[in-house]
């Protein structure tokens, strides 16, 4: 019986149960979708399968033989292959395509330290042909396109004769045409008896390419069936589980004046343009999965990317091509990676908070220290930053308090527009509530607010209008009353771009 079986797998990290008795079966020559929201346990399950760490409980059987993997190498030897989402992290960019593909063989070979280049190149070409790629194997990997890199990685996985291949979000960086090519290759390999575990948020694609689907929620399997037995709507329901009743928000009557408007904003990475309007005091949410282009949108709005478009803030026209111009126009940006992009970690809270305000604190460039400290204390108090010492180094603060410092930097400036990029990433529930109340009070002051996140629940809690973003485009817009978690998941997963209608 040729089958991969993960039986009764359980795993906990620090008393938090991530997987709880999961059974997962993949037959030979099958493409099996693995679905689940963030934190459902997909990656943990796949890491166990790839040998990253052992399960607390449960067994792995491959083709009737029981395995315990104590390293990724064990998993590889048992026929498990992994095509990671971030292909760049697993390839050697400065080596040639050939060297990358046969890297496994070089590492594993215990016989001769000498390599026959002709043989290796022949072998690399052969493997590339299996994934439908005709290219010069002497080319260096960093010169290849993302699509090529992915196929090179697939060829590399095939070189170690993998029978069960994990594809983690394989189509996230691909264009439609490239996705179709990938699907053809998957079908061809499938016919040869290779099985795939297919992880993706794009439900339409899953309907198109997969034979079976297993859905995880809170560390348990909630559904497993052939793909034909389930609709996209049902998949969404299983992933979310309970229908979440949003805490009834007070209905806010908003000013009709448009505070912020951008027309024909070009997003270089996805090569799309968007139009966006935010009313005075409105919180506009952008819902999108990882890779939907949210951060790229924020970067374009803030002048961090080479872009074009027309900005209009409180009736005044701007063109913005640098953060300095964006700030002068009245835009503030709270970036996604606060440690890397938002904070001066080894400087004090005070210096972090006043970095934008120094002009108002100086006489002939001389910083008035008492005024600076007073201003910092005011901000610390109004933001409830804890501990409340202006001189403490930011590094010593918790994630939530660090985030308040990042926001605080912009509060006393003349900002009219606030862009929040995943502002609650990695912070606890209390801090999240505090950040929300800061955002709401900014809205009450009549600021225009853009809130980008893949935590859709947050948007249901806070946003007045929600745009769903897929591949750099707004595909659907909801008002706060219309939006439900299901709808957001459905549309952000590309629910309406009907993949199953594509010719195969």
């Amino acid at each position: 019986m040729n089958e991969l079986q993960m039986l009764n797998i359980s795993k906990s990290f620090d008393k938090v149960t991530v997987l709880n008795g999961v059974n997962f079966h993949v037959k030979q020559g099958e493409v099996h979708a693995l679905l689940g929201m963030n934190g459902a346990g997909k990656s943990t399950l796949m890491k166990i399968l790839a040998g990253d760490f052992p399960p607390d409980d449960g067994t792995i059987m491959i083709d009737g033989k029981q395995y315990t993997f104590s390293s990724p190498l064990d998993a590889k030897k048992a026929g498990i292959g992994l095509v990671a989402q971030e292909v760049d992290t697993v390839l050697f960019p400065a080596l040639s395509v050939c060297e990358n593909i046969i890297a496994n063989e070089i590492i594993d070979t215990k016989t001769s330290p000498f390599l026959s280049w002709n043989n290796q190149k022949q072998r690399a070409k052969e493997l590339l042909r299996q994934v439908g790629l005709e290219m010069d194997v002497n080319k260096l990997v960093y010169e290849c396109s993302l699509h090529e890199k992915q196929l090179i990685l697939l060829a590399k996985v095939l070189s170690s004769s993998a029978k069960y291949i994990i594809l983690d979000e394989p189509t996230a960086p691909l264009s439609t045409a490239e996705t179709k090519t990938l699907f053809q290759i998957i079908r061809k390999l499938k016919a040869k008896g290779v099985s795939f575990i297919y992880i993706s948020h794009k439900l339409g694609e899953i309907k198109e390419i997969c034979d079976c689907v297993t859905i995880l929620r809170d560390g348990k399997v909630v559904h497993s069936s052939p793909i034909s037995d389930i609709t996209i709507e049902q998949m969404v329901e299983h992933m979310i589980g309970r229908t979440y009743k949003s805490a009834k928000k007070e209905k806010r009557t908003l000013d009709e004046t448009i505070a912020f408007e951008v027309k024909n904003l070009f997003i270089p990475k996805t090569k799309t343009t968007v139009n966006l309007q935010i009313r005075k005091g409105e919180i506009v949410g952008i819902a999108g999965l990882v890779g939907a282009g949210k951060t790229e949108l924020a970067h374009s709005l803030f002048g961090l990317e080479k872009t074009s478009g027309q900005w209009r803030i409180n009736g005044k026209e701007y063109t913005i091509s640098s953060p300095i111009e964006a700030i002068e126009a009245g835009i503030s940006y709270i970036p996604e990676e606060r440690r890397k992009q938002g904070l001066f970690m080894n400087e004090s809270v005070q210096k972090n908070l006043t970095v934008r305000l120094l002009s108002s604190l100086t006489n002939f460039q001389w910083i008035h220290r008492q005024r600076e400290e007073k201003l910092a204390l005011n901000l610390i108090e109004s933001l409830k930053i804890h501990p409340s010492f202006p001189k403490i180094t930011v590094r010593h603060l918790s994630g939530g308090n660090q985030q308040k410092v990042v926001i605080g930097k912009w509060l006393s400036t003349n900002s009219e527009v606030f862009i929040f990029d995943e502002p609650t990433k990695g912070i606890d529930v209390n801090a999240k509530a505090e950040i929300f109340s800061i955002i709401q009070s900014l809205a009450k002051q009549g600021k225009a607010i853009l809130y980008l996140t893949n935590e859709f629940q947050e948007l249901l809690d806070i946003a007045d209008t929600i745009h769903v973003m897929v591949d750099g485009k707004f595909v659907k817009t909801f008002s706060a009353e219309e939006a439900t978690h299901e709808k957001l998941v459905y549309y952000s997963s590309g629910g309406e771009t009907s993949w199953h209608k594509l010719p195969s």
Binding site: Y333, K340, V355, R356, L361, T362, W366
Partner: protein
């Protein structure tokens, strides 16, 4: 009373020996070195010797301030040593070969120093080359330029010219005062150093541009997103570095009274070591001018003492390298 309370509290905190060493290591080292040399070398603890030490320290400190600025913006400038040489040659040439007065003699090397800084920032900021490699290349270029210009010969009073006769100009007294003069018994170069240290310290600590230099170095990405023109500040830092190297070159030319080729070469290592020692002075953990000055005092005293103990100059390089390694290790320990 209150002070004793603070001290006991300090003790209760059980500061480890390492932390104390880290915080006050440089000062302790300076004291230890001075005490040791005073006891073992007869002529060490004399007015003449100290004035001599201070003069050489003043030149190293000027170079090291420039390096400190490049370190503050998270960069590095290896070209300072050869810029000192260039500046020395330029001022000597202006005086001896072109018979210029004090103004031009000072202006030419200073403009050359600024030009080197602009070249460095062009390579590093605009062309985005790695700072170490870019300034290494510039170091060689500048060194080559001053050697080519002098054909490898030093410039001195009444030197014979290749086309016959002797050089028309000479080192004028007003120029020599910079490196050899005294004011109230204190060497002028030391006063100049103290003044520039003081001004740089105030600038970096209490002014907006100073703050933004540090912010740029601390996290360039965050600084850019906060609307700080980071490339402008990085350019300023390299220009300031070139400028201070040029001033150091002027003082050096004035002190030795000739334009010696490649005279600045050994100053690179001294300056780098001083700036890195400076990071650990008082446990500040960041490049700072006051610390840099203490760093060059330590190096200056040590080199002077070793010379008086007849340790050959080539063996002193071993000590210098060892000090730099120690300073780097100290600042690394603190980061952990």
């Amino acid at each position: 009373m209150a002070q004793t309370a603070v001290v006991t509290k300090e003790k209760q905190r059980k500061t480890s020996l390492l932390q104390i060493l880290y915080k006050h290591g440089t000062l302790l080292a300076i004291l230890a070195v001075i005490t040791y040399f005073s006891m073992t070398i007869e002529q060490f603890f004399t007015y003449e010797n100290f004035s001599d030490i201070l003069r050489s320290i003043s030149i190293v400190t000027l170079v090291a301030i420039g390096i400190t600025f490049s370190l503050i913006v998270d960069g590095f400038d290896l070209s300072v040593g050869s810029t000192v040489s260039l500046s020395t040659i330029a001022s000597a040439a202006a005086l001896v070969l072109y018979r210029q007065e004090i103004l031009v003699t000072l202006l030419v090397p200073i403009l050359l120093g600024i030009a080197v800084g602009l070249l460095n920032s062009l390579l590093i900021v605009k062309l985005k080359l790695p700072d170490l490699l870019a300034t290494l290349a510039v170091m060689y270029i500048i060194n080559g330029i001053q050697l080519t210009y002098t054909k490898g010969f030093s410039i001195y009073n009444d030197m014979p010219l290749p086309e016959g006769g002797t050089a028309p100009g000479k080192f004028i007294p007003s120029f020599l005062f910079i490196g050899q003069g005294e004011w109230l018994g204190i060497p002028f170069s030391v006063l100049l150093m103290l003044f520039l240290v003081f001004v740089s310290h105030l600038f970096l600590t209490y002014t907006k541009p100073g703050r933004l230099f540090y912010m740029t170095g601390e996290n360039r990405e965050a600084a850019r997103l906060s609307g700080i023109p980071v490339n402008r500040y990085r350019t300023y830092a390299y220009v300031i570095s070139g400028l201070f190297a040029a001033i150091a070159g002027i003082v050096l030319a004035s002190r030795i009274g000739t334009g010696q080729v490649s005279a600045g070469a050994p100053l690179l290592m001294d300056g780098v070591a001083a700036a890195f020692i400076g990071i650990s002075v008082f446990g500040i953990g960041k490049p700072n001018v006051i610390g840099t000055m203490f760093g060059s005092i330590l190096i200056g005293v040590l080199l002077n003492g070793l010379t008086m103990m007849n340790v050959p100059y080539y063996a002193q390089d071993i000590i210098k390298g060892g000090i730099l390694v120690g300073a780097l290790a100290l600042s690394h320990i603190q980061k952990k």
